[in-house]
Symmetry: C2
Subunit: 232 residues, 2 copies
DNA sequence: CGGGCAGTTGACCCCGCTCAAGCGCGGTGG
DNA sequence: CCACCGCGCTTGAGCGGGGTCAACTGCCCG
């Protein structure tokens, strides 16, 4: 734990809406006890069902949160990127993790021990309110997700997911999505079979809606995709 | 607003885990400003997309929370029963309601204005923590729901829903579920077509798993239903 | 008695899942 | 350096779960 890392944490927190109202003292307190870890692509931060001893805050990278069905198929329910907090649900409810968290690219993550996190919530009502808002936002997204999976067909859902990915992770200078998922992961996000994702992506490409370069996807005709997604 | 109602509110709060740690003063404050409303079966408390001016706490009755798909089909994402708080998501995020709330039976509900609710959160860290836990619980359920709808077939999901209803609402002296849903509502909960629910209920009945009397359902062979639901 | 709504049943058929085979490519070891 | 292996990706064929449509019944209520 060197000074450099401590500064990074303070930066992360200072730039993070979640931590905006916490005092310098509180940040210093957090800085003294937090840990900084790096994870490689594919590394698991924690498994569904494991007991948690603290919460995590992403400094850089992308984390996928998924549940595993009875047949072993992954259902991705959420992503975390820089500035995002995760793992708080299990800590607050004192339950085991209800999802597995896995890095889908090289990621750097802060770990905040349970007690420090809970103290911060108890002593700082602004922070508590931010955590409430955070979980409420995730709840709203989850409810929307339920509606989509229950009522939209796979084509519509895939279109929606592509728009979501562009919205949430942005595009690089060449126009490609700033997130790289395997076809299987896309399927696990859409809630369908890998082959269906492949066929539909191929359709979208044929219709000039997207460009595909290996795992990199570029949205060409966003309007048409929006219409397909049926989100108004 | 008579004294009777005030006492009811205090009882409701006193018996409610959510409000357990709030002081007598705070309860009195709430009692002075709260409103008490009754809703008949089918009455809408608020519509998806409407702006909220406070939160609701169920005294008695059952509220269904659903989103409406593009084709008008309802997807039920949650129920509220006595002691449950709802509407807090929109108030906290200052967003319009993301679901419609409708009474499925005669219900009595307290209304707590936005400001009182927010003040309580800011001034009482125990209450804030309870709200956090509440939304975290709903989030966990929503994630499980996503997995189920994405990966289980209709038969498995219907079995799971029946068990959930028994668990959550209990049974009356005759063994029937303490919640009465139309086939269409059941379909909107399972995420399928009404006809599919009807056929599967009929199958379950034929196999001696359940008894049906109009809208009343009795679970006979809970173990077999649990096996069908594939929840271990 | 008639209208309307919830429930039921049958017929049809299509979306999308599954299985199988083949391809491309990067890594590894001989 | 090449051969091989394995994994991710792709494509085709087949079929079955379940959605849709239509018709009918029963029941409530005006």
């Amino acid at each position: 734990m060197n000074l450099n890392k401590k500064i990074e944490l303070e930066n992360c927190f200072a730039n993070n809406a979640l931590f905006r109202r916490i005092s310098k003292d509180e940040i210093r307190e957090l800085s003294n006890i937090k840990q900084y870890h790096s994870y490689n692509k594919g590394d698991i931060i924690y498994n569904e069902g494991s007991r948690m001893s603290g919460v995590y805050c992403v400094d850089s990278g992308i984390i996928k949160h998924y549940k595993t069905g009875n047949d072993g198929k992954e259902q991705i329910v959420h992503f975390s990127k820089n500035g995002n907090l995760f793992g708080y649900r299990s800590v607050l409810l004192n339950q085991t993790a209800c999802t597995t968290a896995k890095a889908i690219e090289k990621s750097f993550i802060f770990f905040i021990p349970e007690n420090s996190f809970l103290d911060l919530i108890k002593n700082n009502s602004d922070f508590a309110l931010n955590i409430i808002k955070l979980s409420c936002e995730e709840l709203g997204q989850a409810n929307q997700n339920i509606l989509d999976i229950a009522q939209k067909n796979v084509r519509e859902r895939l279109a929606e997911i592509l728009l979501f990915l562009e919205d949430n992770f942005g595009i690089n200078e060449e126009g490609y999505l700033n997130i790289s998922l395997t076809r299987e992961e896309l399927a696990g996000l859409v809630g369908t079979a890998t082959e269906s994702v492949i066929r539909l992506l191929s359709d979208f490409k044929k219709d000039g809606l997207i460009e595909i370069n290996k795992r990199k996807i570029k949205l060409i005709n966003t309007n048409a995709i929006k219409i397909i997604s049926k989100n108004f």
